[in-house]
């Protein structure tokens, strides 16, 4: 087993005991990348020279016993929509193929403060729009469990890199399921924190009222270690919440005796694969055996979430992506003689089909005469969906269901049908609309591909989410399975 597949606490102990060096961790990461990334294609940019220099510096620090945080020296992969000072950040778009940020996202400053080592930048659907990684402007990341299949998206590179053992952990972002769905497809742990829990400063905006950064890891405990460091108020993000960050690690020590679980019937209904249903029901049994109780409930507006989401997210995207005009950064088109044509040519050459489609949809939904019928209507439906969750979470500690209705699909299978592709996110989207936290943890396999269990709780109750996820994980063996590459 590669050292990178051990738990953070185990690696940390070896570092402290001087049984392993940071340079060895970083070597292990690049060796694994060289071994498997031609197949997996998770990385867009490697940061090898800097990472190795950083590792050498950290090995010096260990000599002075300065390795005080469990994240110290861990090789990390970062989704390519999180800006990294001096390290190319493309959002998997040809329009930003040459973009080198001149500052760090807040999460990067926070990780660097704990001395994690940035190994490279990870592939995604362009500007985080997609559920398969097929919308990347550069390459299609493959599912490490079967390279004929998609890793999910949009944080597909992040999930695949963790599953393939290329990094100790990765950061992703989740607007409608973009951390949880690929975590489910690739058999890793992925958390979307409460909206406002983690600073969005330096996350290239897709839909600002929905976007959140979160960790992808092999275990729940590792995930809690990363969130503990990246969470918290940030003055550079006015939507970041001034709410204290609790000790997530102590939540893991609590059991689930007396825990009340709600299981929405809409999450186990039509369109959900039989094997997925079975694994979720088995998982509920595991939690029941530990003293939790569950009841079937209804989230009656679930079926409207996808439609509301695509109107809202695309509207916000159409405004956010207006900045990509070839003036201050990006690849400017040479085929234009005046300013308006320069904008149009730059954007048309730089953006891929899905991004154009969503910009068009959003511009339409916000345009004069259609605003009330589409955008405002969707905002009202968002209120109904949020109220569904508020009510249920008043009576129950957590909501549990599958993360996605099926396991991963084949590369190319859904690419020509946007609506079928959007339906993939039917169980993750409502969570973003409501702004609540949710995790995906591995809960079994169907025909060799991982199934994910989704655990949702109240705003800022990440501790509860982790507690339930950890109790389940510790009672099962699914997280120990490794893909053969």
């Amino acid at each position: 087993m590669s050292i990178l597949e051990e738990s953070f606490s185990s690696i940390h102990k070896k570092l402290k005991d001087k049984d392993v060096k940071v340079t060895e961790l970083v070597d292990a990461s690049y060796e694994r990348i060289k071994e498997v990334d031609e197949k997996v294609q998770a990385f867009l940019t490697l940061n090898e020279e800097e990472a190795r220099q950083h590792a050498e510096k950290l090995d010096q620090a260990i000599q002075n016993d300065e390795a005080n945080n469990v994240l110290f020296g861990l090789p990390a992969g970062i989704k390519d929509n999180i800006v990294t000072n001096g390290l190319r950040t493309t959002c998997a778009s040809q329009l930003l193929a040459n973009f080198e940020p001149v500052h760090n996202a807040t999460v990067m400053d926070k990780l660097h403060a704990q001395e994690t080592v940035t190994v490279g930048k990870l592939n995604m659907d362009e500007f985080a729009m997609g559920s398969s990684n097929e919308n990347s402007g550069f390459q299609t990341t493959r599912n490490p469990w079967n390279v004929e299949y998609v890793p999910g998206g949009s944080s597909g590179g992040s999930a695949a890199a963790v599953a393939a053992g290329e990094v100790a952990f990765a950061l992703g972002s989740d607007t409608g399921g973009s951390i949880r769905q690929p975590a489910s497809y690739c058999g890793v742990v992925g958390l979307k924190p409460t909206y406002g829990r983690v600073s969005r400063f330096g996350l290239v905006a897709f839909a600002s009222s929905l976007d959140q950064i979160g960790p992808l890891t092999r275990t729940v405990e590792d995930n809690a270690y990363v969130l503990r460091e990246i969470a918290g108020h940030c003055r550079k993000d006015s939507t970041s919440a001034d709410v204290e960050v609790p000790d997530y690690l102590s939540s893991l020590k609590q059991d689930v005796k007396g825990l009340r679980i709600a299981v929405p019937k809409e999450y186990l209904g039509e369109g959900v694969h039989e094997d997925v249903k079975k694994h979720v029901l088995d998982a509920l049994k595991v939690l029941e055996d530990q003293g939790a109780t569950w009841e079937e409930v209804s989230l009656p507006h679930s079926q409207y979430a996808v439609a509301a989401y695509y109107l809202l997210a695309s509207s916000e995207a159409s405004a956010n992506l207006a900045r990509f005009d070839g003036v201050r950064y990006g690849v400017r088109s040479e085929n234009a003689n005046n300013l308006i044509d320069m904008y149009k040519e730059t954007r048309s050459q730089g953006f891929g089909d899905e991004v154009k489609r969503r910009i068009m949809l959003g511009t339409f939904a916000l345009s004069s005469g259609y605003y009330d019928a589409y955008y405002k209507k969707a905002q009202k439906v968002r209120t109904l969906i949020k109220q569904d969750f508020d009510q249920i979470l008043n009576d129950y500690d957590v909501v549990i269901g599958p993360t996605a209705p099926t396991t991963a699909f084949k590369v190319g299978e859904k690419i020509n049908d946007p609506l079928t592709m959007y339906a993939n996110d039917i169980l993750t989207i409502p969570v973003n609309l409501a702004g609540v936290p949710a995790i995906s943890v591995p809960c079994g396999f169907s025909e060799g591909l991982p199934v994910g269990l989704q655990i949702i709780s109240k705003p800022f109750a990440e501790g509860t989410v982790y507690r339930v996820a950890h109790a389940y994980e510790q009672a099962t063996e699914h997280h120990k399975a490794k893909p053969e590459l």
Partner: protein
């Protein structure tokens, strides 16, 4: 009934500063029509007395003191500019 026409698609593309080929106009008309058709299921819900949600958190008017703080150096701000002259971003002519 056709919900979206090719003329509308061309108009929206112009608003969004995208140049589109005739073939793209055709594809977008078809696909946007399908997506808007799908979105019309929202009309099954009575939302007359429902307030719209723009934001899930109870945060209003985040203000700070207006004090000087460090910002990007000009050289850094221009580092990614595709074209520049005399320390400024250069663009094609705005007026004919």
């Amino acid at each position: 009934m056709e919900r979206i026409t090719k003329e509308q698609v061309k108009h929206v593309a112009h608003l969004a500063r995208l140049s589109v080929t005739e073939k793209e106009v055709e594809t977008f008309t078809e696909q946007l029509d399908a997506i808007i058709g799908f979105a019309e299921q929202l009309n099954e819900l009575d939302t007359d007395n429902v307030e719209p949600t723009t934001h899930v958190l109870d945060i209003h008017n985040v203000l700070r003191e207006d004090e000087q703080r460090p910002s990007l150096e000009r050289e850094e701000a221009l580092k990614n500019a595709p074209d520049q002259e005399d320390g400024q971003v250069k663009v094609p002519s705005v007026l004919e």
